[in-house]
């Protein structure tokens, strides 16, 4: 089986899928809308993580920290200034993005495990800060917002975010900009010596990722109409977005989508049947992916020549997909 789609066919397929997705709230039950809505959030987050970690090779274990910043910003803007929620979510996203500029400049100097652990620390640090800074965040009590009236709007917000992130990733894959960004993963020092300002590209990817995470956080906060340190910095979501991107194939533009859709179903099933074991199963799944299919489902198909898209160099051999920034073997 070989799948080869022209650009026009891909575009057509994309439009059809988009149309179907746009009709979902009108056609299905409320339960299914909430299911799709969560799925779209997973997709958006998986793309956000993929943007920084998949393309630059800087593995982040705390990208959800920016989700939290978006959540709190949005909640506080709605609560204190009575801002319309979509505007508040967008502002929250911008705040997360603005925060990511100095943060990225500092953190992205760290290589390999230090960046990963540093981001993990940041995530815990911000969660602790949210719990202690009571005048702003109301501490562990949290902030309550007016309940949501129309689910469809939230669905469309997540859909829009997921589509924008998908298109941004698609654009990345098909541009010189994306090529330069990927040199960071392949050989950062080599790229520098060719005159590529790797710091700019890394920080740019980090900021885009932060915008995506922040926006998702903002929408989510309005959806659950409540925020406290645990809902703003959800450790489970942090793990889920990483596994989703890896399962589909990190550093590819279909990967996060495939991973999120597959794992979204699985996690729904696991939550329903094995609520206590689902993270154990996630751990096993992550180990399995790393050991047996490190370039994910996309990489698996590429290896068996079942897909012939425009060549994605990060898929041509397994090890390149996860090549770290420091090139330390």
């Amino acid at each position: 089986m070989k799948v080869r789609l022209s650009l026009l066919q891909q575009f057509g397929l994309f439009l059809i899928v988009l149309l179907v997705l746009a009709l979902v709230p009108a056609l299905v039950s409320t339960y299914l809308v909430t299911f799709f809505l969560t799925l779209l959030m997973y997709i958006a987050l998986a793309y956000s993580w993929n943007f920084i970690s998949g393309y630059t090779g800087y593995i982040s274990f705390g990208q959800i920290a920016l989700f939290g910043i978006g959540s709190y910003s949005c909640a506080i803007l709605i609560f204190k200034w009575n801002m319309p929620w979509l505007l508040a979510a967008a502002t929250g996203s911008l705040i997360a993005g603005a925060f990511a500029i100095p943060l990225g400049l500092i953190m992205l100097r760290l290589k390999g495990p230090y960046f990963a652990v540093g981001m993990m620390g940041l995530f815990q640090f911000l969660a602790a800060l949210a719990a202690t800074w009571k005048s702003l965040t109301n501490g562990a009590t949290g902030i309550y917002l007016p309940p949501v009236s129309a689910l469809a709007y939230i669905y469309f917000a997540f859909l829009g975010l997921a589509v924008v992130l998908f298109l941004a990733t698609w654009k990345l894959e098909h541009s010189v900009f994306g090529l330069r960004l990927r040199t960071v993963k392949e050989d950062e020092e080599g790229a520098e010596s060719l005159g590529i300002n790797t710091t700019f590209y890394k920080v740019f990817a980090f900021v885009v990722s932060a915008l995506g995470c922040g926006f998702a956080g903002g929408i989510q906060v309005f959806y659950v109409s409540y925020v406290d340190p645990t809902t703003a910095f959800p450790a489970v979501l942090n793990i889920t977005m990483i596994i989703m991107a890896l399962l589909g194939g990190m550093g590819t533009y279909w990967g996060p989508l495939i991973g999120a859709v597959l794992l979204g179903q699985v996690s729904e099933f696991l939550w329903a049947h094995f609520p206590y074991f689902h993270l154990i199963i996630y751990g096993c799944l992550l180990a399995f992916i790393i050991m047996f299919m490190p370039s994910g489902i996309m990489g698996y198909f590429h290896k068996r020549k079942m897909l012939r898209g425009e060549g994605n160099p990060s898929l041509t051999n397994g090890s390149a997909a996860l090549k770290p920034a420091n090139g330390n073997g």
């Binding site: 620390g121 790393i290 050991m291």
Partner: protein, 289 residues
């Protein structure tokens, strides 16, 4: 007068804590030295040690007898983790081992949460205090400190004076050359990971005797251990102690003058500062033992 006494007391507490941190940090440092792998699950191995000794004491076994048993169990677990998981990706780029050990960390933490729930528990043994003049030192802290120092001295001796230690150091300095000299580097890697996990597990048993812990303790511990190793320099054992001292003192002093959360913030700040101020020392530091 009263103030300086208080500061002396806090200093002593910091020193005693540093001895405990040092043991786990050596394990982390050693694993990094030999395998070039950052064991992000190290804190969760500690948790495992803490809760195994907790379970054993629930069965009526004295925690002090439990310590060597935990050491043995954790050694085997570490050995198996290396042999069947880490070994498969050790020649791959670092992102592989990082993500794989992240998976191990998720797995261990949630197995822990399932077995022991998220409640905080502790083992209260030797509740008395040793009084030296006006100073009071809790006996348990002293006992744990003495075991920790003994373990560290024994470990340094093994590393520096025995053949096993020499093979480990050779594998750190030049894995390929060590292999060419007939050292079974694979075996050394498995052994090192086992010993590293053993040290983590024993530190875990200290922790449950000194503080209240729950199965999520690995989260904060891994940050502290990384901070210690980074402050002290990778592969530098004297440095590890310096790092342990810095982190333990920062934690004790901020904990004394502020709250626990405040001390977590302080530890994270030191962690970040050390990363930012000496990024060259992270991977390019001294590799010798």
């Amino acid at each position: 007068m009263q103030d300086s006494l208080l500061i002396l007391q806090v200093l002593i507490n910091g020193l005693l804590l540093a001895g405990v941190y040092g043991v786990a940090a050596i394990g982390l440092n050693l694993i990094f030295g030999v395998l070039r792998v950052a064991n992000i699950a190290h804190g969760d191995f500690m948790m495992l040690g803490a809760f195994i000794v907790y379970t054993l004491s629930g069965l009526g076994l004295s925690p002090l007898i439990g310590i060597p048993i935990v050491g043995g169990i954790l050694f085997v677990i570490g050995l198996l983790t290396e042999r069947f998981l880490v070994e498969k990706v050790v020649s791959q780029p670092m992102a592989y081992s990082l993500l794989l050990l992240y998976a191990v960390s998720i797995l261990l933490r949630n197995v822990g949460l399932n077995l022991w729930t998220s409640n905080y528990v502790s083992l209260n043994i030797l509740p008395g205090s040793l009084h030296i003049g006006p100073l009071a030192i809790p006996e348990i802290r002293l006992v744990v400190f003495i075991i920790a120092v003994g373990l560290t001295v024994a470990f340094t001796f093994i590393l520096n004076k025995t053949t096993v230690g020499k093979t480990i150091r050779a594998s750190i300095q030049h894995p390929d050359l060590a292999g060419a000299c007939g050292i079974d580097v694979r075996k050394v890697r498995a052994l090192t990971f086992g010993v590293g996990s053993l040290l983590a597990g024993i530190t875990g048993t200290f922790f449950i005797m000194l503080f209240s812990v729950n199965p999520e303790m690995g989260d904060m511990m891994i940050l502290k251990l990384f901070a210690i190793v980074i402050v002290g320099g990778l592969g530098n054992y004297m440095g590890t102690f310096a790092g342990a001292l810095v982190i333990a003192m920062a934690e004790t002093f901020t904990g004394f003058y502020g709250t626990t959360q405040f001390s977590d913030v302080a530890v994270f700040s030191i962690f970040l500062l050390s990363l930012i101020l000496r990024p060259q020392g992270l991977l390019g530091g001294r590799k010798t033992a």
